[in-house]
Amino acid sequence: MEKSLIIRDLHVNVEDKEILKGLSLELEKGKVHAVMGPNGSGKSTLSYALAGHPNYEVTGGEVLFNGQDVLEMGADERAQLGIFLAFQYPMSIPGVSMANFLRTAVNSVRKARDEKPMRVPDFRKMLNEKMSVLKMDRSFAGRYLNEGFSGGEKKRAEILQMAMLEPKVAILDETDSGLDIDALRIVSEGVNALRNPDTSVLIITHYQRILNYVKPDYVHVLVDGRIVTSGGPELALELEEKGYDWVREQFAVPA
């Protein structure tokens, strides 16, 4: 199976404290991987480190995207390659409309790939299509980025950005948390619509719930900065039933 992203023995410090302690994970093209783990296990640290947050200091290991080392790259370059992170807590940017922001982002990515900027009418059309998949009102495009958005709106806006940027590796950091059932269904449809043979999806979650809507091919369990076990979709159900303490005991991770 062809791999899109290979993470080997990744060590990451946050404020001089080691959070990821030798994490390894390989994502396959066209597949959905779920990473499940308890609070504080390092799920967001993994997603920030992959996206290139400057405060997440990589002290060891490697991350290859289609064979290319990304650890020396800035966040913008990684995004231009096709790595996308849907944030657990998206930032608001006052005064910058969704539409303007997305157009700048889409064109930055296109430019890095030596493609021409998108024409405004084409961009509008694409934006409208993606928004209707996510059942977002047209007026959303004119609103300032995440400014005054409800929790659910923010998550939907993240998925909209993902849909517009058409990434090769899409990382969703607890996109399901705080969503009611209807919103979860809509967001999941958005993710499913993105699935294609070329794209890997990494769903990071605390709960099994979203995996009823976005069926994972693989499930990995993250405890205390390491992937301690991996399996198929059934692993998620087992976890849900037995809880993270069971994993800790099973894999002898100190609580």
Partner: protein, 471 residues
């Protein structure tokens, strides 16, 4: 987002108005200021006695007053007033056809895009080069409706009564040291009269250009909006980049009579060696609306606080101010509103951005007289700091002399956050572009008040300032 990185790169040179022309002038006063220089200016202009006396009296006020020590943080003491040329006359008269403007000046304004703008979206244009207005033109239909749009010197000759009735009434010469200086050596500027009920839809624009080194530009603008009339006046300013300093010290007086509506927009982009010390004040009468939109970029030091006196019930005032202080710059800006009459309303919105060691200050005065019951005012100032060594200060003076008023005041200081930058960059946007998006978003509440062309210009100027700020 108006501009791509490519376009920015093309405009790499930080200040594209930094070119200068060879000097080829009809007259240039000698350096420094004296009664003799003032008399000479008045004589060259062939002014009536009252104006010469007004100038000389103003010079006395100027000499008597100490240099203000607030605001400029001592920078004012660095100005070498004896080294400045107070009057430079580039050509003999204000033309009303671009064809007749001397070639080298026309080229300058061509480069600045003025004639083109006039064709596209302006009702009239004035262009001042050094001390004199060299071009002035107004659409014929407005002329036919009795609108006057002239350089201030010509207005003094052609409309002496109207001129004398209002000149110096809003800002008397002894108002402050720089108003006194302007009153002594003023030259050029715009004079506008809009007759009763006439509404000018498109903006009138004046463009001010300093060319000579050590030049002092002291234009004087007077706008009178008669009952129920409407006008939007826009000024733009640039100067070449010299190693020594130039001085720009204007006075702008506005009379908004009953039911009129005046908007005055400034997009100034002085080079970083210009001291910009301007006094602007408007009086708004019954049910009139006065709006100052003030975009302050460039200059070494700007001290500018557009003021509105709300003289009669129903008068409204609004001040929108944007200031951008880059490396080595100090923008001391803000606004003043004085509620003289009851049932008057005002808002002040100030947005300042400080980059690198740039310093911006909000300085505001809100005064409500005892008679001004049932007045309402809202003041909001937001500062954005781009770097660790950027600085901002707020000096909001509020003097309320009665209880039956509704006053709101809010001030915020924010830093461009790492998390915001990371969020934008994680979408493929470069760091420079992420910064400029945040800044553009920050001033959006003001940019959206401007006609499209000016909003684009303001955003473009800010993006140019942002270029190279990353590090």
């Amino acid at each position: 987002m108006a501009i791509t990185e490519d376009q920015l790169r093309q405009e790499q040179e930080q200040y594209k108005y930094g070119f200068s022309d060879p000097e080829n002038y009809v007259f240039k006063s000698k350096r420094g200021l004296s009664a003799e220089v003032v008399e000479e200016i008045s004589y060259m202009k062939g002014e009536p006695d009252w104006m010469r006396d007004f100038r000389l009296k103003s010079l006395k006020h100027y000499n008597k007053r100490p240099m203000p020590q607030w605001g400029g943080g001592g920078l004012l003491n660095e100005i070498d007033f004896d080294n400045i040329y107070y009057y430079v006359k580039p050509s003999d008269r204000a033309e009303n056809s671009w064809e007749d403007v001397p070639d080298y000046i026309k080229d300058t304004f061509d480069k600045l895009g003025i004639p083109e703008a006039e064709k596209k979206f302006l009702a009239g244009v004035g262009a001042q080069y050094e001390s004199e207005v060299i071009y002035h033109n107004l659409q014929k239909d407005l002329e036919a409706q009795g609108v006057i749009f002239l350089d201030t010197d010509s207005a003094l000759k052609q409309y002496p009564e109207l001129f004398k009735k209002y000149f110096g009434t809003i800002i008397p010469p002894n108002d402050n040291k720089f108003a006194a200086l302007n009153s002594a050596v003023w030259s050029g500027g715009s004079f506008i009269y809009v007759p009763e009920g006439v509404k000018i839809e498109l903006p009138l624009q004046a463009y001010f250009r300093i060319n000579a080194e050590n030049m002092g530009q002291f234009e004087r603008t007077l706008i009178i909006a008669d009952k129920g009339s409407q006008v939007h006046y826009v000024e733009g300013c640039t100067a070449p980049t010299y190693s020594t300093d130039s001085l720009h010290s204007a006075v702008v007086e506005i009379v908004a009579l009953e039911g009129s509506r005046v908007r005055y927009t400034t997009i100034q982009n002085w080079s970083k060696n210009v001291y910009n010390l301007v006094t602007k004040r408007a009086a708004a009468y019954k049910d009139a609306t006065m709006e100052w939109v003030d975009g302050n970029l460039g200059s070494k030091l700007t001290m500018k606080y557009p003021a509105i006196y709300l003289m009669e019930p129903g008068a409204k005032g609004e001040i929108l101010s944007v200031a951008f202080a880059g490396h080595g710059q100090h923008q001391d800006a803000g606004g003043k509103v004085v509620h003289v009459a009851p049932h008057t309303t005002s808002t002040i919105t100030s947005k300042s951005i400080s980059k690198e060691d740039g310093r911006s200050s909000y300085r505001g005065l809100l005064k409500v007289h005892p008679e001004a019951e049932f007045s309402k005012s809202n003041v909001r100032c937001d500062a954005l700091l781009l770097h660790e060594n950027s600085r901002t200060d707020t000096y909001p003076y509020i003097e309320i002399e009665n209880d039956r008023v509704d006053i709101g005041h809010e001030a915020t200081v924010s830093k461009v956050g790492e998390e915001q930058l990371f969020y934008l960059m994680s979408r493929g946007v470069s760091e420079a572009e992420a910064y400029s998006m945040i800044v553009t978003g920050f001033i959006e509440p003001i940019a959206k008040e401007l006609p499209m062309e000016y909003a684009v210009e303001l955003n473009r100027l800010i993006q140019l300032e942002m270029e190279g700020s990353v590090g």
